[in-house]
Amino acid sequence: MGIHQKIIGLFLLASPLVYSQEKPCYFQPSLLRTSATIAPTRFYRQETTIALINGFVEYVLENRISVRGEGNIMAPNGKLVYTNSPEKFPRNFTSIYAGFGYHLGKGNWKFNLHTEPGIAISEMAQQPFLIVPVAYQWSVSPSYMLKGGTSFYFSKYCHFFAEINYSNGWIRKTPLTSVSIAQYGISAGLGFHVLTKKK
């Protein structure tokens, strides 16, 4: 047997072995995933962009369905990247959402859609139309978030994700007209996951 035949034989032998070592599907029911990242957000009605710290926990209930909870907190001492004048935006902003996700795609690359009702907790910075200074005031407002994105599960414990979101709500507890907190934002980063049940 010549050297060429031996090489071809080895190659033929090795091919199915390599093929059989294809990565397993990490996304499956009982997967618990979490991450935290900095998420720039644009409050487009207030012409204001800020940095939020976004964190989420998600549990995969079925092949396509997951339940998810997440929170956004305005970065401590965060500067408003750009704001209108006079400033109408709250000086503090936190939002909490919980809902379900729908996942599409095969294997370890998924596209996901989320619908999450929630609340927004805001502290108004100042009254925009009065010269008289007023006290800062906290208020809790109903809100909802719609989110779409993609995730790539590249190892047993890690994945990349990128998402865009839209949320809406109104701060009613204001001296005059209610302030819209309609916003769109992005978040992306490295997430961590673990399978909580073994097959």
Binding site: L61, E62, R64, I65, V67, A98, G99, F100, Y102, T115, E116, P117, G118, I119, Q127, L130, V132, P133, V134, Q137, S141, P142, S143, Y144, N168, G169, W170, R172, K173, T174, P175, L176, T177, S178
Partner: protein, 223 residues
């Protein structure tokens, strides 16, 4: 010996037939969900569209009857001089009028489907109306507890055997005391008046809810 054999065969045949007649009954199914509500066409003078958030659990009593047990927190503006907050806690009965159609019978595999329903129920509510705060006048508000009944139509969109999205449109009539706001657009003065007794003031509520079946509280039955 032949008789014993015949009896065994007969029992076997009867059991096989009985198993054919056992069908899955969804009674006892418990779901948990979150919901977002929009409040429209409010009877309160100058009240604008409100938005709300809440949660619910759903308990099914039979193939054709389901129940929703919900909590809602809804906020809306009364022009730019006041805002109103409503807290609803209540229940609704959902009746599936066309549940016997072949479309709803699960045959081979699961396919997403719509399941329409008629809904009626009752709730308790707490409402608070607050004046938009002025640094000169200070806070001013009025509140009331009342009861309400609601009825409407809706549909589930069952995306998987356990997960559904439900859209409901219903009219809610408040039966207890009600608060009226009087606002003088010339002077900018605002006052609240509480009226006792029943009034048919109400609003249209459009609710989108997401629900997941988490447990079956009682078992399978034969039809």
């Amino acid at each position: 010996m032949q008789r014993i054999f015949l009896v065994i065969v007969l029992i076997g045949v009867l059991q096989a037939n009985a198993q054919d007649n056992i069908k899955y009954n969804p009674a006892g199914m418990l779901s948990l969900g979150g919901r977002t509500t929009v409040s429209l066409f409010n009877d309160h003078e100058n009240e604008m569209t409100g938005t709300g958030v809440g949660g619910q659990f759903r308990l099914r009593f039979s193939d054709a009857v389901n129940t929703d047990w919900f909590f809602d927190y809804i906020a809306s503006d009364i022009l730019n001089y006041a805002h109103r907050t409503d807290y609803h806690i209540g229940w609704s009965v959902l009746f599936y009028p066309i549940n016997n159609l072949d479309y709803f019978r699960q045959k081979e595999g699961f396919k997403p489907k719509f399941r329409p329903y008629i809904l009626a129920g009752h709730c308790f509510d707490y409402s608070k109306i607050e004046a938009k705060e002025s640094p000169l006048d200070g806070p001013m508000s009025a509140e009331r507890w009342s009861s309400a009944v609601q009825a409407g139509l809706g549909t589930h969109l069952e995306l998987t055997p356990r997960f559904d999205i439900s859209l409901t449109g219903q009219y809610m009539i408040h039966l207890g005391n009600h608060i009226e706001t009087d606002y003088d657009f010339t002077s900018g003065s605002l006052s609240f008046h509480e009226h006792k007794g029943a009034s048919l003031a109400g609003h249209v509520l459009v609710t989108l809810s997401l629900n997941y079946k988490i447990a079956k509280l009682w078992g399978f039955t034969r039809r």
